[in-house]
Amino acid sequence: MIRVLVQTAAIDVAAELDLHDAGGHGASASFIGRVRGDDGLTELFLDHHPTMTGAGLADLAHGAVDRWQIAALTLIHRVGAMAPGDTIVLVLASSPHRAEALAACEYLIDRLKTDVMLWKRETFADGRVAWVEQRDGDAARAERWG
């Protein structure tokens, strides 16, 4: 089962874990990314493309299922305005084999940073607003997957 969502609503991690039916698989790896309140950040806004963002996530999900033996995959990205502590992204990957679940999870989270149509804007307590620049490290991590 592949479940891919782009949503402005909060991500309900517990409900998604249940839906993923984690209990039925040998190994489940997960990754949760949250908004960090570093440097007085008060809001993170994620801009997205109405069709390309979802299509990009679906491509990544299918790419992971092609590469590894995956029993279930959940990939949910929140967009719009978020506060520190909010979950931005949730990846759940299950497989009969632990190495496959872990690799798929890491692959997806690395690829998300470079391959999906999303743009971050940060607002700080002092009123500063800035769009995030692409980091070289993200591109390098994604390239490891060839």
Binding site: H49, T114, V116, W119, W131, V132, E133, D138
Partner: protein
């Protein structure tokens, strides 16, 4: 020639609109020409496209390059490098 253009992130903010239909000179060849034309059109275009190397494009939902032809395009998206996830 009428083109539907959508802007994202700081390109959208600098252009002041999310989407617009623009009438470009007939025979405009490619994405690079469109970006140069938008930069020359007015102040908001000059601000958004001051550095064409920082702009990416997609045509009808498919990533494009500066040399991608505009002929037959239904929607052109212009945006900065992605920073998501």
């Amino acid at each position: 020639m009428a083109l539907n253009i959508a802007y994202f992130a700081w390109v959208r903010e600098r252009m002041g609109v999310a989407e617009e239909v623009v009438d470009v000179p007939a025979g405009m060849a490619d994405v690079a020409a469109l970006v140069a034309w938008l930069a020359a059109r007015d102040d908001r275009g000059a601000l958004a496209f001051a550095d064409p190397l920082r702009v990416r494009a997609a045509i009808d939902g498919v990533m494009a390059s500066p040399g991608s032809p505009l002929a037959g395009a239904r929607e052109i998206a212009l945006f900065p490098p992605v920073t998501g996830g």
